[in-house]
């Protein structure tokens, strides 16, 4: 008995129909994605403890983009990673002087401001909206800013008024930690001696080097980024550290405090940028827009306790933080402080001085 060849429910016809349906569905999927759209991923490279607790998860919720988050300890590490070509990062957070260097070496992508409407929230003060290293915010957006000063334990030392407490005094020998950052330590020694932090005068650098060599026996360690942990654990009583780190430590131990000495400290602005060769520039722009949303930015600032460059976010920031001079220093403090500039060809002189300090 033969079925008619045109029977519509034979097994072969069913399989053929299912196959065509499957192919059709797969094409429908790609048509929805579009050939020109990026995959929903983002690679962010940032300092440690420098983002809000909920920032990344909220971003993924709102946009569906998964974030891969990597950490670096200082600008030089970031530069070394990107120097020989972008290994795949979409968003990076260099400091002011490093942005200048990277722009000079064409390592940053020009930002498309039309994709970042939240840019309007940035503080209109020219230091933020039109800085000399990044005019018109062409290559970077200011993220957080702060100072480098002295964190100390109130019950163990009296309030330091000058950098001499950590750079020129044997009073708390063995209870002092400095940063393991060449430009920061030598720069602040120069400032203590009355010179510019970006000096290109070999005489002045030699004086700073001799001062630090003289002070070395009293220094317990050069801490890379964990000075606040050493303070907390009672390893040291005085340390040269970034303000936000000390303020975070103050949350766990209210015997700690922070001060910028009278000679002035170092003031810095970290910036969010997109490096050239980023695999997901669209997603990167979306991320930059996201972190400048006032509430998101305030959540970040409330977590990491650094000062934000975003004016609209101040509405949502803890009032105690806004009134805290450690986080938002007074205008005179900023006026006395200095920002770092890349000294270019002069860096080997600093480096030689730094090696001599360490080998002494």
């Amino acid at each position: 008995m033969t079925r008619s060849a045109s029977s519509r429910f034979s097994r072969r016809n069913f399989l053929r129909g299912a196959g065509i349906a499957a192919v059709g569905l797969s094409f429908a999927g790609t048509a929805r994605r579009g050939w020109s759209q990026e995959e929903r991923k983002l690679n962010v490279y940032n300092w440690d403890t420098y983002i809000g607790e909920a920032t990344l998860s909220t971003f993924t919720e709102r946009t569906g983009i998964e974030v891969q988050y990597d950490l670096y300890a200082n600008n030089e590490e970031l530069f070394a990673k990107l120097q020989t070509g972008n290994p795949g990062y979409d968003v990076i957070f260099p400091s002011d002087y490093m942005v200048a260097t990277m722009i000079a070496k064409n390592m940053l992508m020009e930002l498309d401001h039309s994709k970042i409407p939240n840019m309007a929230n940035i503080d209109p003060d020219p230091n933020f909206s039109d800085p000399p290293f990044n005019p018109g915010l062409k290559y970077a957006l200011p993220y957080m800013w702060g100072t480098i000063g002295i964190g100390y334990r109130k019950s163990a030392v009296e309030t330091p008024t000058s950098w001499a407490a950590v750079l020129d005094s044997s009073e708390h020998s063995g209870r002092i930690a400095l940063l393991a950052d060449m430009r920061a330590v030598i720069g602040l020694a120069l400032k203590y001696l009355g010179y510019s932090m970006n000096s290109t005068n070999e005489e002045e650098i030699a004086q700073a080097r001799d001062l630090l060599i003289k002070q070395k026996p009293h220094i317990k360690t050069f801490a890379e980024d964990n000075g606040q942990d050493l303070l907390l654990s009672g390893e040291v009583d005085l340390c040269m550290e970034w303000n936000g780190d000390i303020v975070s430590a103050m949350q766990e131990d209210d015997d700690l405090s922070y001060v910028v000495p009278q000679e002035g400290g170092m003031v810095w602005i970290d910036n969010a940028c997109i490096p050239t060769g980023a695999p997901h520039p669209e997603n990167a722009h979306a991320f930059l827009n996201f972190i400048n949303d006032p509430e998101v930015n305030a959540e970040i600032a409330n977590t990491i306790r650094f000062a934000t460059a975003n004016k609209a976010a101040k509405e949502f920031i803890n009032p105690e933080d806004l009134a805290n001079p450690a986080i938002y220093p007074a205008a005179e403090t900023i006026a006395k402080s200095e920002a770092l500039i890349d000294v270019g060809d002069f860096t080997p002189v600093y480096d030689r001085a730094w090696t001599e300090i360490q080998a002494a």
Binding site: F79, T101, M182, I219, E235, D342, G344, R352, A359
Partner: protein
């Protein structure tokens, strides 16, 4: 086993993968570093290809040479301590009854599988001002004080001063010895296990004491193992940079840290390359010394 001359094609084909690997991932990068070492540093930290000996001349300046000498000293102390601790340990494992031997070996190798960073961090927890050693000493101090109090001499010991165990050269040496002990124990164990025990029995029968037997018979016979272990530990601790970075203080910078700085903060890759090659030449000299020594000594070869 065929002589390779008889079947050169098979030999060549078998040799191809490891040779390719060695050339691609060892020789080529090394050649690039060597070329960089003659280069110049641009104003923004980039590497400019040039041909100058400036970097090498700078590398042998006293300031950098002194760091290399200090590293050699620390490595030598580490090696000596490793030998002192490792030899009895290897002896213990080699002469233990067969059923315990594998367990004992495992106990030596197991910490090896833990990440180096975590093992070094654990020493911070032990040695720091409020670390385990100081906490124990403080507790003992308190108990002693209470005891003295019974005799009416409370407070005689004074206030407890914690020991400064961390952030100095001693902490670095402790960390290095701990990390490199397996490198010393395993070659020593391999040599001691293959030792013909009848030599030791003969020596004891002929009237030599235990110590005499150990120093006059066993140690000379296990010289190849000692040489291998010593070389491994010395070269590894010469170039280390993690342990001095974490455990060291302002006075314990080693050559590894200096090189790492050149590739990081200082952005001076040509100088860093020159320093790396200086370290490499030093290493080759020690390897050559080892070859000379092991050719002259008899002993158990393996």
């Amino acid at each position: 086993m065929q002589d390779w001359r008889q079947n050169k094609l098979v030999f060549g084909v078998l040799l191809l993968p490891p040779t390719a690997w060695l050339v691609l991932f060892f020789t080529l990068p090394l050649a690039i570093v060597w070329v960089y070492s003659f280069g110049k540093r641009g104003p923004l930290g980039e590497t400019l290809l040039a041909f100058s000996f400036d970097n090498y001349l700078r590398a042998i300046e006293w300031i950098n040479l002194s760091i290399l000498l200090k590293s050699t000293w620390i490595a030598a102390v580490t090696t000596a301590l490793c030998l002192l601790v490792g030899f009895p340990l290897a002896m213990g494992i080699a002469f233990s009854p067969g059923k315990y031997r594998n367990v004992l070996l495992l106990l030596v190798i197991l910490p090896f599988w833990t990440n180096l960073l975590i093992r070094t961090y654990s020493w911070i927890a032990i040695l720091r001002t409020r670390g385990y050693v100081n906490m124990t000493l403080e507790w003992l101090h308190g108990k002693l004080d209470a005891l003295l109090g019974l005799f009416g001499a409370a407070g005689a010991l004074g206030k407890f001063q914690p020991l400064e165990l961390l952030y100095n050269e001693n902490a670095v040496i402790v960390g290095l010895v701990y990390v490199h002990l397996p490198f010393m124990v395993l070659p020593l164990y391999a040599t001691l296990e293959k030792l013909d025990k009848s030599y030791l029995e003969a020596s004891l029968d002929l009237g030599a004491g235990q110590w005499r037997t150990m120093f006059s018979v066993m140690v000379p016979l296990s010289l190849p193992g000692i040489a291998t272990g010593t070389l491994l530990v010395f070269i590894l601790s010469l170039g280390t940079f993690l342990t001095p970075d974490l455990l060291g203080g302002p006075d314990s910078i080693m050559i590894g840290n200096l090189i790492a700085q050149q590739f990081g903060q200082a952005r001076d890759w040509p100088f860093g390359s020159a320093l790396s090659f200086l370290l490499m030449y030093a290493t080759f000299i020690f390897l050559w010394l080892k070859a000379v020594i092991s050719r002259r000594e008899g002993g158990v070869s393996y």
